[in-house]
Amino acid sequence: MSTPEYEHGELVSLEESRDPLWFKRAVFYEVLIRGFADSNGDGTGDIRGLTEKLDYLQWLGVDCVWLLPIYESPLRDGGYDISDFMKVLPEFGDLGDFVHLVDEAHKRGMRIIADLVMNHSSDQHPWFQASRSDPDGPYGDYYVWSDSDEPYSEARIIFVDTEKSNWTWDPVREQFYWHRFFSHQPDLNYENPAVQSEMIDVLKFWLDLGIDGFRLDAVPYLFEELGHNGENHPKTHEFLKRVRREVDALYPDRVMLCEANQWPDDVVEYFGEDGDECQMAFHFPLMPRLFMAVRRESRYPISEILATTPAIPKNCQWGIFLRNHDELTLEMVTDDERDYMYAEYAKDPRMKSNVGIARRLAPLLENSRDQIELFTGLLLSLPGSPVLYYGDEIGMGDNIYLGDRDGVRTPMQWSADRNAGFSKADPQQLYLPTILDPVYGYQALNVESQMRSSSSLLHWTRKMLAVRKQHPVFGMGDYQELGTSNPSVLAFVREFGDDKVLCVNNLSRFPQPVELDLRRFEGMVPVELTGLVHFPKVGELPYLLSLPGHGFMWFGLQPGDHP
């Protein structure tokens, strides 16, 4: 089996460049450890496998790797049911492997963040076992127990398909316990100061091992109260502020990304009033609107959502993405009578099935290279830190027969070798089969072959990440949309001091002209960022550009040489 050779980047120490706002400039890359690289040939990816691929990620231009849960777990909910917060799932490796991964990433100037579930544990967690068997013992109050299943009835049931109630009877303790998710995931009792301290200790444990931050899962649900719907409780915000204070005091450049699958107006509360809670949160409604805008050949789905997105504190950042590991159901954004989305999607069943369900980027865009590039260009230039999903940089396909979630979690395609170069195990032993179809199959579509071809999507993606890196404005800058009379063209300016970038995107499949009002930049010269070609100077008349179908261009706006 051959391993592609990556040119080695410089080894730099993060210690010398402590920057508390690094996450605003970073490109994130979401990795499923299970699906990335298998170092020991057991058919399942592991931490050592990922560590071996760090050179690749550095070569690509990734700044931060985001890991899904790595903790010990009975795996009844994809690892979001944690049975020991301080242990690594054995099939992924051990704590030593993790420390090694973090060290090796840091040597390459990259960072590692991981998912952590704050709201609940697995019912297999020793805390829960102790709590149910010894109500008066030290763990008796670690969970939310009740003699009745009546309280907190205002809290909605999230998994309506499987759960009848947020309370489940425990025959051992002979009481009901509270759970907002599955009944095997009892909610921790945050009213108990010991639980708060215990979970902060969990965070510190991983921070001491060098982790650069967390995506905090299911944070809106930490506190319950009678008469309250159990989401976004003020005490939850108080607790997050405390977590942030304690983390910042000891570890000044770590990031907390909040998972609150809600409308931006509500999510901003998790940044705190002065940016004193989580530094990052995902912008959920942007993603479906990108797809809608290109399908409609109209910029308004995007313009609208960005115009109504509230401002966020300076030290905070949205995380934006095209695809990720999860199904992103539209219910999350339409719940609140978002009639716009509802009207658009209800009329277009194809949109509904495509955006709601986990498909990978390439198959979703019918493998159109132009569209993949346009979407990636938007991801890299709209306000927020982009999160790439593993495999999308080579245009990997999915396997819809594996079901909604597993379909996009197949092994990373490294080469044309056995098991796509992912594992030396027998093919039957793999955690999921590799993709074999004639278009997306690993024999043709893999990292190794795309490294060899300079026109590949992989090289293109790497180039764009490099361009983005040269212009901090993409991460730090203001965003202002330029109105144009052509509804199919989305044009905007990003500004960060003298760093000014103009981005023009044709959302239509047809070539389009556009006239831009650039009077504010009169006398400046637009320089196309990938080829550094100088375009005509901006004058007082509207600036005319033509774009090919699904084309986009980025320009740096430079001072003109002549008056």
């Binding site: 050949e297 109209s298 609208e304 716009y340 009207a343 277009d348 194809r350 109105g483 509804p487 199919s488």
Partner: protein, 447 residues
């Protein structure tokens, strides 16, 4: 005529906003002239223009007077030379239109002109003259305001100001709030000369949105209008809703009444008369005259009372803007060719609905006109128009509480009347597009 009036007589007919297309101007008289500021010599000038048919109209011009040559960028705006001075249309001069904003911001009154603002204005914003339009010239200041300088002037309050203001004060999100206006005395009446409104940053005309959708449909070989990505129906539905809400508010804040059967008869007569005049210009209409008249008679003889109110009056996809916050309706002037009395008369709001429904037909078919006959495309164009017309009516019905389609007789008569008007317009201006309204008349009349 003075030398100045002579120069203007030559210059006027070539202006886009000159209403007497094709008719020679026989006389121009300067009715009133007033210098705007102490800097450049720019004079607000009101002209009384008589054409070869003996019709008189009033036009408003900002005339710049320069002793020497004008700068390069104003060359296209030059009107002519008088007494060795260069005259130019100062609506294209950033300095002159900047002065207008200044005067509005200060709320100044000159001898016959009065400037009013309803909001604190920033007079330093830099102006940009937009392309000329049919009846006015627009100037955008910064990205905040747009000034519409009416060119053809009819004495009295301009319905655009009247309705936009009433709607904005009624809290409607569907209009651009008026920020100020310019008035002057014409024929002893206070007359609206210009209107300043909030500029809709990042907006697009409904026409451009709709035709992008049609283009997308035509590019698909085998998908129907409800299957293609560029589907416009959800936008149409929201537009219908916005239209209905504007109608409801207009009915609430401005006069309205319920017209009786006599009114239906009068409307019917009016439609017949308009058809008579149209056939004289476009004999192609003759074969359809019987069907058209039958439709009008159905309207004329209905006995149900018809609610009438102030309406937009010239409603189509070019009069609506898609903004970041939804649809905004523009230009409540009514059909520019009609008299002020006609434009301010109470009418059935279904006329606006009919206007927009006609516009969907145009949007669907104008690409066909460019491509020549293709029955497959024609079928698809029809499908698109039908889908969006229904969606518009759905949205309208939901907000209004009454479905315009329930008033089939009225709607059909108004649509036909609109199509007849379009036939005349196309015969005069764009013969290549004539098949669009003719085709619609054929389809509607055969129903």
């Amino acid at each position: 005529m003075s030398e100045l009036e002579d120069v203007l007589r030559e210059w006027l007919p070539s202006q886009r906003w000159y209403g007497g297309k094709g008719r020679v101007v026989t006389a121009v008289r300067v009715e009133h002239e007033e210098r705007l500021s102490g800097g450049e010599d720019v004079r607000h000038t009101l002209l009384r223009v008589t054409d070869e048919d003996g019709q008189t109209e009033r036009y408003q011009v900002l005339l710049g007077h320069r002793s020497g040559e004008v700068e390069q960028r104003l060359r296209n705006a030059v009107v002519g030379e008088v007494d060795g001075r260069t005259l130019y249309d100062a609506a294209h001069d950033p300095e002159a239109v900047g002065t207008l904003l200044q005067l509005l911001a200060e709320g100044r009154s000159l001898s016959r002109l009065s400037f009013t603002s309803t909001a604190e204005l920033d007079p330093t914003l830099s102006p940009r003259v937009m392309g000329a339009e049919q009846s006015n010239t627009s100037v955008v200041y910064g990205e905040d305001y747009i000034l519409k300088l009416f060119r053809r002037i009819q004495p009295g309050l301009n319905p655009d100001l009247e309705l936009t203001r009433a709607l904005a004060e009624g809290g409607s999100p569907y209009v651009a709030a008026p920020l100020g206006w310019l008035e002057g005395e014409v024929d002893g009446q206070t007359t609206t000369l210009a209107l300043l409104q909030a500029f809709q940053h990042n907006s697009t005309e409904g026409w451009a949105m709709a035709t992008a959708s049609v283009r997308d449909l035509f590019a698909e070989a085998d998908l129907h209008a409800d299957e293609v990505g560029g589907d416009f129906a959800a936008e149409s539905e929201r537009l219908g809703q916005a239209t209905a809400e504007v109608h409801l508010l207009l009915r609430e804040v401005l006069p309205s009444e319920t017209a009786d059967a006599d009114e239906s008869a009068r409307t019917g007569r009016q439609l017949h008369e308009r058809l008579d005049a149209a056939i004289a210009v476009a004999p192609d209409l003759e074969p359809h005259a019987a069907a058209l008249r039958a439709a009008y008679d159905q309207l004329a003889t209905r006995s149900d009372p018809v609610p009438v109110q102030r309406i937009h009056g010239d409603y189509h996809l070019g009069q609506v803007l898609r903004t970041e916050h939804g649809w905004v309706l523009l230009d409540f002037e009514g059909e520019p060719a009609r008299s002020l009395a006609e434009r301010t008369a109470l009418m059935s709001p279904l006329r606006d609905v009919a206007g927009m429904l006609r516009s969907y037909d145009y949007a669907a078919r104008h690409l066909l006109a460019e491509r020549g006959g293709d029955s497959q495309l024609a079928y698809r164009a029809n499908e698109w128009a039908e889908r969006n017309r229904q969606a518009f009516c759905d949205g309208y019905a939901r907000a209004a509480g009454t479905d315009p389609r329930d008033e089939a007789v009225l709607l059909r008569a108004f649509e036909l009347d609109k199509a007849v008007y379009e036939v005349v317009y196309e015969v005069r201006n764009r013969p290549a597009w004539l098949p669009i309204p003719m085709g619609s008349i054929e389809r509607l009349a055969s129903r």
